[in-house]
Symmetry: C2
Subunit: 424 residues, 2 copies
């Protein structure tokens, strides 16, 4: 690959997300990070494979570098991010960014300039971190008229609400704990008052409905007034309380975008999205309702989306082989398939023991002889005919050992009702 021209990427920012992007891009031999802008060049950085000579504290030297094809802006905030991106576009670079605030507040200016210079701005990472949402909406879901979005896109508030629910604790107590654990910032306003979620839903609604969304017209209400009592009452009524970012497009074209706490039915997928997990539910025709969930933030999940966007640009520039022209796929090599007998699993076993006297001891002996450790064993009831109903959950066990043990249980006069594998 050395002789082939590589795609050259400049990073602005080497914090949590920037580090994840740098580490991930090292796996792609047709992509090269050639310059990285940081605020403090003297800060100690323990990043494997980082050549300090490419690190600079002059971000303009990245966006002005004529060799660079793609600039990934990963510093956040309005300025200098806005001016850096504009300069990069004018210098002929494509942009990948995770900056939801900038997109929500000044996206239209940026998109106008990018069109003018025929450059693209990609921002999968700006909404719901590692969850694929923008690209599916733009490609495989393009046949749909999507008119409703409900989403949990802020990990901090979802963590706080989940903890309040699980512990019956107050908002104030859980916030303090979240701050100590690093899940909430010292000044939590951006998260708990719904600003972060508003930036994200405005940006997502804009792509999905193909309309410009005025962030100032997005209704926003935070979680600070939710009481432990509300959590309890909601539970009794069959609901959970979540901070929901929603967007609706009505048949007449009117659009309603908002962020506020909401009681969501326990029967809905969103009710089970807990702690820092994010989820986006889309409804439309013909697809119906789909929900995409996963990690909404963090070094590596966010890097997944930034790198996905960088590879997409590289593919369009015809210089990467990691994304094939959209529809192709690669699988010309045979898989080396493992036989089920050689796999390792946890098991649930239901046994009817003929004679319950000493049966647990016997089962234990057979297990020990076959290298099977037990996580739990419960003798659930004894029937009239003196049989015991025993439920076992094992630790990780070789399938062939388990099958051997099952035979031995049966030879011992027991009836094995069920053998079902358990999720690890």
């Amino acid at each position: 690959m050395e002789n082939k021209k590589k795609i050259k990427v400049g990073l602005i920012g080497l914090g949590t997300v920037g580090s994840g992007v740098f580490k991930t891009l090292k796996n792609f031999d047709d992509i090269e990070v050639t310059k990285i802008a940081v605020r403090n060049i003297n800060k100690k950085r323990d990043i494997d494979g980082l050549d300090n000579s490419i690190v600079t504290d002059d971000a303009y030297s990245v966006v002005n570098d004529p060799e660079i094809d793609i600039v990934a802006e990963l510093i956040g905030g309005l300025e200098p991010a806005f001016d850096l991106i504009v300069t990069a576009i004018k210098n002929g670079k494509h942009i990948v960014t995770a900056n939801k605030e900038l997109l929500a507040k000044r996206g239209q200016e940026l998109f106008k300039i990018s069109e003018q210079y025929n450059k693209v701005i990609l921002y999968e990472a700006a909404i719901a971190g590692g969850i694929p949402i923008i690209m599916p909406v733009k490609t495989i879901l393009a046949g749909n008229k999507i008119n409703h979005i409900e989403a949990i896109v802020n990990g901090t508030t979802n963590y706080i609400l989940t903890k309040m629910d699980v512990q019956g604790a107050s908002y104030e107590d859980v916030l303090k704990e979240a701050q100590q654990l690093g899940y909430a910032e010292a000044d939590p306003t951006g998260d708990v008052e719904g600003f972060d979620a508003a930036y994200k839903i405005a940006t997502l609604a804009s792509i999905t409905f193909q309309k410009r969304i005025d962030i100032n017209k997005v209704y926003r209400e935070g979680i600070t007034k939710i009481r432990a009592n509300d959590m309890e009452a909601a539970n009794d009524l069959g609901y959970k309380i979540k901070l929901i970012a929603s967007a609706n497009m009505y048949d007449n074209g009117d659009i309603d975008v908002r962020v506020h706490p909401m009681l969501v039915s326990k029967k809905s997928t969103l009710a089970h999205i807990d702690y820092v997990t994010n989820a986006v539910m889309l409804k439309g025709h013909p697809v119906g309702s789909i929900t995409l969930s996963g990690p909404g933030a963090g070094e590596f999940p966010t890097a997944s989306s930034v790198v996905g966007d960088i590879l997409a640009v590289a593919a369009e520039l015809g210089k990467s082989e990691y994304i094939l022209p959209m529809m192709r796929c690669k699988h010309s090599e045979d898989a080396n398939m493992i036989d089920i007998a050689d796999t390792t699993n946890k098991y649930y076993i239901s046994i009817n023991a003929k004679n319950n006297k000493g049966v647990i001891g016997k089962i234990g002996t057979i297990c020990a002889d076959n290298d099977i450790s037990l996580e739990s064993i419960v003798q659930r009831c004894v029937s009239d005919d003196n049989t015991a109903n025993i439920t076992v959950i094992t630790e990780l066990v070789k399938e062939k050992n388990m099958q051997r043990a099952i035979k031995l249980f049966e030879q011992d006069g027991n009836k094995v009702n069920s053998l079902i594998r358990v999720q690890v």
Copy 2:
């Protein structure tokens, strides 16, 4: 658009999926369905806008039609689907299919021929219906090394297991009910013995791991032996029983693909995927774990994926404007944003009523005066100071009416603790 050359699509099959595809494609004015092959040309079809002159019972007249750019094969089964697709490819057509059995059993032959003729075969609809999974794996997740998949990809078995769990009923009883409702076929073998799920997971593993999967080496175990007792025991232990299609790639490259019932933790997203809903969980680096869920079958959800694939081919052929070159997006028009005061919502209200005597009556009167219907009203407890704690859930109400009522509650001497909107 009339003067521009349209993409011409031929459909093979006009059953459930075919009809959905035909109806959906009518919304796209640069795509035209020019020929449709059916088994029985005399069958009455009530499909809006269908010109009977394009319907034929000679499927070869579709794949041999020199005008057609894309053939969508929607009949399923091995033959004649295989030969029709091969003929179409040799005649220069791109293929979109929902045929998981064909892909799992003879995919390699098809992909070889398609490469030879430089045509593509797309099959988003073959795995998990309307859920976007193949396209995200091939594009925005391309920066990942995905090494683990756990999925619920068969609606019939998930429906049966959910019903067994909810009703405490036996497999046999629920199967009968599912057959009556049309969720299970008269001969349910393909679903309940896990064949359908095996085809899907083999195909998905092949794309994700970029290896050929031998369907004969996929371990397969159905749900027919699951007992109501197992459901109950699993519940007690904190699990649900689901038919899980899984695929693992180990560090040494060995691959383990299987379908069998599994106890999944109630804390996992998959445990809450009920009835005919499907879900696919992917784990990899850097993204971590993401779960995509939605309708796994049906006329319109499946059509969403088939049409998405058709649009993707059309875009690559440079003849559709519905999918922009991958990374672009369209949003140059201002949204008409609705003010929150003009929206309609359901509400949860928590009120501390100063004097509990007659308070429910007063609340009822204020609500009636403001056009607010109540779904439920609960007086939860009365404190020492003679205040009553009242929880109200409303029907759909205008926000401005609700805000007016809240003021009136407060003027009446009550304390409104919380006003939280409820998911509709």
